[in-house]
């Protein structure tokens, strides 16, 4: 008697409808050996499913989170570059932009908010540069510091999202003041982040 092959048994177990399955099923009814083989196949699969779950031997989240933050920081930096260009373009006809924004400039005197914007954005870029140079992702920090830095970075990300939306609505009245407030908040948060990373590192001699 020709018994069923493993291909046929697996197909039967799957409830397959390939040619020959009906004949295989018929054979199964009259062959105790093949019926036992199919039963063993079912049991083997049940045992496979009951194998214990394997677990990683170490916590993988810190690396994933660090990479996620690195990528996000890159995106933010790129966006800030684009945002900066847009802002520069908007200010081009109004004021000289750069170190030492001239607050006595008559053009800026007519648009004090835009002068403030240029200054605060410049400060933001300087802080970003300082953080990039320090490269916090490559540093070892304690858990408390990491939590504080994380909270600050998360808030910065939120502010960046608000900035993006506000930049798009600049034509609306009073948006410049909103924009200025957001940039100020961003600078405050970046200041705190620099303080957490760079100043702390200097204090403990890292």
């Amino acid at each position: 008697m020709t018994h069923l092959t493993m291909d046929q048994l697996v197909a039967l177990r799957d409830g397959g409808s390939e040619p020959g399955t009906a004949a295989a099923r018929q054979h199964l009814e009259s062959c105790a050996q093949c019926a036992a083989e199919l039963d063993r196949l079912h049991q083997r699969i049940a045992r496979l499913r009951a194998l214990p779950n394997l677990r990683p031997s170490r916590d993988l989240w810190p690396q994933i989170d660090a990479e996620r933050r690195r990528v996000r920081r890159g995106r933010q930096a790129r966006w800030m570059g684009i945002g900066g260009l847009a802002l520069a373009a908007s200010l081009a006809g109004v004021a000289a932009i750069g170190p030492g924004v001239d607050r006595a400039d008559p053009a800026l005197a007519e648009h004090p908010v835009e002068g403030e914007l240029a200054a605060v954005r410049e400060r933001s870029q300087a802080l970003e540069t300082m953080l990039d140079a320090y490269n916090p992702d490559a540093r070892v920090i304690d858990g408390q510091t990491a939590r504080v830095a994380q909270a600050l970075e998360d808030r910065i990300a939120d502010v960046d999202q608000e900035l993006q939306v506000t930049e798009l609505q600049r034509e609306a009245p009073d948006q410049d003041q909103v924009l200025l407030d957001l940039w100020r908040e961003r600078v405050g948060l970046l200041d705190a982040l620099v303080d957490v990373h760079v100043t702390r590192a200097s204090n403990v001699g890292l």
């Binding site: 050996q33 496979l48 499913r49 989240w61 989170d65």
Partner: protein, 178 residues
């Protein structure tokens, strides 16, 4: 799955979509076990499995905004994991060690009727066969889905599964004398 995640799944997912770090970590904590298990069952080494976990969750963090919730979150994460693990197999081009054994010592197992435990037998299967067995018999993927993920045909998936079971049966000492 973490019961606290199940109870707050919608809220956690909504926050994760906004890039909230705590929510993304909660998502990781809820699924790191099953993701690692699947990756480890497919990959040969723990290092490869850990890399797959990391790649999977980078992808989850990056694409969670695009997850529309039309399937289960585990189904979505699991398909990313399987895809990353299979990609790693292709990249590493592991040698199918059970095939090697058959070529070198074709009669050894028939003669000695080795009795392994299931874990060891599964580990001994070639990469492709093991991946097919796990994806089909444990994770419940169809041959069509497996073929799609592997870039192979449906018959390839079916024949790999049958071949793997024939080997498992032999290595587990389940063969019955005719």
């Amino acid at each position: 799955m973490d019961p606290s995640f199940v109870a707050n799944a919608d809220a956690v997912l909504a926050r994760a979509r906004t890039g909230d770090a705590a929510a993304l970590e909660a998502l990781f904590r809820a699924f790191e076990g099953p993701v690692y298990n699947l990756a480890r069952r497919i990959c040969r080494t723990t290092e490869d499995a850990e890399d797959v976990v990391q790649e999977t969750f980078f992808e989850v963090c990056r694409s969670i905004r695009n997850y529309r919730g039309d399937g289960s979150i585990w189904g979505w994460i699991r398909s990313i994991t399987a895809s990353k693990a299979l990609m790693r197999l292709r990249r590493n081009k592991y040698r199918d060690t059970d095939e090697l054994d058959d070529q070198v010592t074709p009669m050894r197992r028939e003669d000695t009727a080795l009795r392994m435990d299931l874990e060891a037998a599964l580990e001994r299967l070639g990469e492709t066969s093991r991946a097919v067995v796990w994806l089909h018999d444990v994770e419940g993927y169809t041959h069509e889905e497996i073929a799609g993920m592997m870039g192979k045909t449906v018959s390839f998936s079916k024949s790999q599964l049958a071949r793997a079971h024939a080997r498992l049966r032999r290595w587990l000492g389940e063969e019955v004398p005719a």
